[in-house]
């Protein structure tokens, strides 16, 4: 068995602010520890992983012998920062695995910005070609872990001979049936652990493959040890923010706090009354029930105007701004309260799907009318 990941494994955000860096590091450590325990063989570095800082990734590499690979991410001296490839022996066969990160101007600029010029991206095709030259004659099967998007995966598969399988990433695709670029297969396993891909290969006179995407739904039981480790992470994150001056130990329960929307209620009583019956009004409670009320990745969608000016902040943990209140959808309305000029804006579904993403709510866009009925507080 070979276990691999094609990047953006550890982190979700391009910018990791000072207020969340500690919890982001805890999460990265949790994931590195768990993936190490299941025997991960190679992980391509994604730009979102880099947002944690190269030194943090190197620390994980050192602490867990975490197998980052990337053939075209180099330091200021043009030296690869991580291993370019690894070779693993399986059933008497050598499997070569190398990593590639995309070099679009957007990605290259992002990498430079995120790493404060400590790292840059070199030509993926040249890097892959050089790796393949070294692997030729030494391996029986080659896996390229790429983080550049499917279009570029086609290019690398067609222009660099000898790659058997491209496991792609970055553009968050799900490929049930692998793309076939000549003799190279291209796959990707969706987003946020919804699927695990399994490519079963027979190395005979010709190589034959069978790909399966396993849906990791509620019917897949939790591993008790990993579940316990996640609970410890939740507790560790809570202890970061649940401290005097910030958090529940010094603040009353959400139900006892006058919410920010009380200001809206004076003129929009009917709408607020209706809102109180919706799931938006219970959004924070759902986190409390799962000890996730301090997890920044959850609070983004369960509080009002997360980390925006005068919005909910990780540092202040303002209970009057929990739940999905008026300003979550209608925008900051401080000026409207002062001048009372008409301000209501029609909320577009594009805003809703920033939280009701396809992985969380697969039919949200399709069922737009139905879901809007659930929160209807307009005439």
């Amino acid at each position: 068995m070979v276990i691999v990941d094609s990047g953006d494994l550890l982190n979700e955000d391009e910018e990791v602010s000072d207020s969340v860096i500690k919890s982001a590091k805890l999460k990265a450590e949790l994931i590195a520890e768990v993936f190490t325990s299941i025997g991960i063989d190679a992980v391509e570095v994604g730009e979102l992983d880099l947002a944690l800082g190269i030194n943090n990734l190197k620390d994980l590499q050192k602490k867990y012998n975490f197998p980052f690979v990337c053939a075209n991410l180099v330091d200021k001296k043009n030296v690869p920062i991580f291993k370019r490839y690894i070779i693993k022996k399986v059933n008497g066969k050598n499997v070569g695995i190398f990593g590639i990160i995309g070099d679009t101007s957007e990605m290259a600029a992002k990498v430079k910005e995120i790493t404060k010029d400590a790292a840059s991206v070199t030509d993926p095709l040249a890097a892959a070609t050089a790796v393949m030259k070294e692997l030729t004659g030494k391996v029986d099967y080659v896996v390229a872990l790429t983080h550049q998007g499917t279009n570029r995966d086609w290019v690398i598969a067609r222009r660099v001979p000898g790659i058997d399988l491209v496991v792609g990433g970055h553009d968050q695709q799900k490929t049930k049936d692998p793309n076939e670029a000549d003799k190279t297969l291209i796959v990707q396993a969706g987003v946020k652990g919804q699927y695990l891909g399994m490519m079963e290969v027979t190395l005979g006179a010709t190589k034959t493959s069978k790909n399966t995407l396993f849906a990791l739904g509620d019917d897949v039981p939790n591993d008790p040890k990993i579940k316990a480790r996640i609970s410890k992470y939740n507790d560790d994150v809570a202890s970061l923010y649940n401290t005097p001056g910030a958090g529940a130990t010094t603040q009353p329960a959400a139900a006892d706090v006058k919410l920010s929307l009380n200001a809206c209620e004076m003129c929009h009583a009917d709408q607020v009354a209706k809102w109180k019956t919706t799931d938006h009004a219970k959004a924070y409670d759902t986190l409390v029930k799962k000890t996730k009320q301090f997890d920044p990745s959850c609070l983004k969608c369960h509080t009002t105007r997360y980390e925006q000016p005068e919005g909910f902040s990780m540092k202040l943990q303002q209970m009057e701004l929990v739940n999905v209140q008026c300003e979550s959808c209608h925008g900051f309305r401080k000026q409207h309260i002062t001048d009372l000029k008409p301000a209501a804006q029609k909320v577009k579904i594009a805003l809703c799907i920033t939280c009701h993403t396809a992985d969380r709510c697969p039919t949200f866009e399709k069922d737009e009318q139905k879901v809007m009925e659930k929160i209807k507080h307009w005439k």
Binding site: M1, V2, V4, S6, L9, K93, V95, L203, K290, C301
Partner: protein
């Protein structure tokens, strides 16, 4: 005795030829080794549902 030795040589030769035939062919063709690659992508730091 000579006949026995010749027979031995014949058998040895046959075995050598047979093994040469095997090694001359693709080693992959000989064993049909199985390989499973488990892969994930774009986990984005996901651990469990928020609510």
């Amino acid at each position: 005795m000579k006949r026995v030795f010749c027979l031995f040589l014949l058998i040895l030769g046959t075995v050598c030829y047979a093994s040469l035939s095997v090694s001359g062919a693709s080693p992959q063709a000989a064993d049909n080794a199985k390989l499973t690659i488990a892969y994930s992508s774009n986990l984005l730091g996901y651990t469990e549902p928020c609510g």
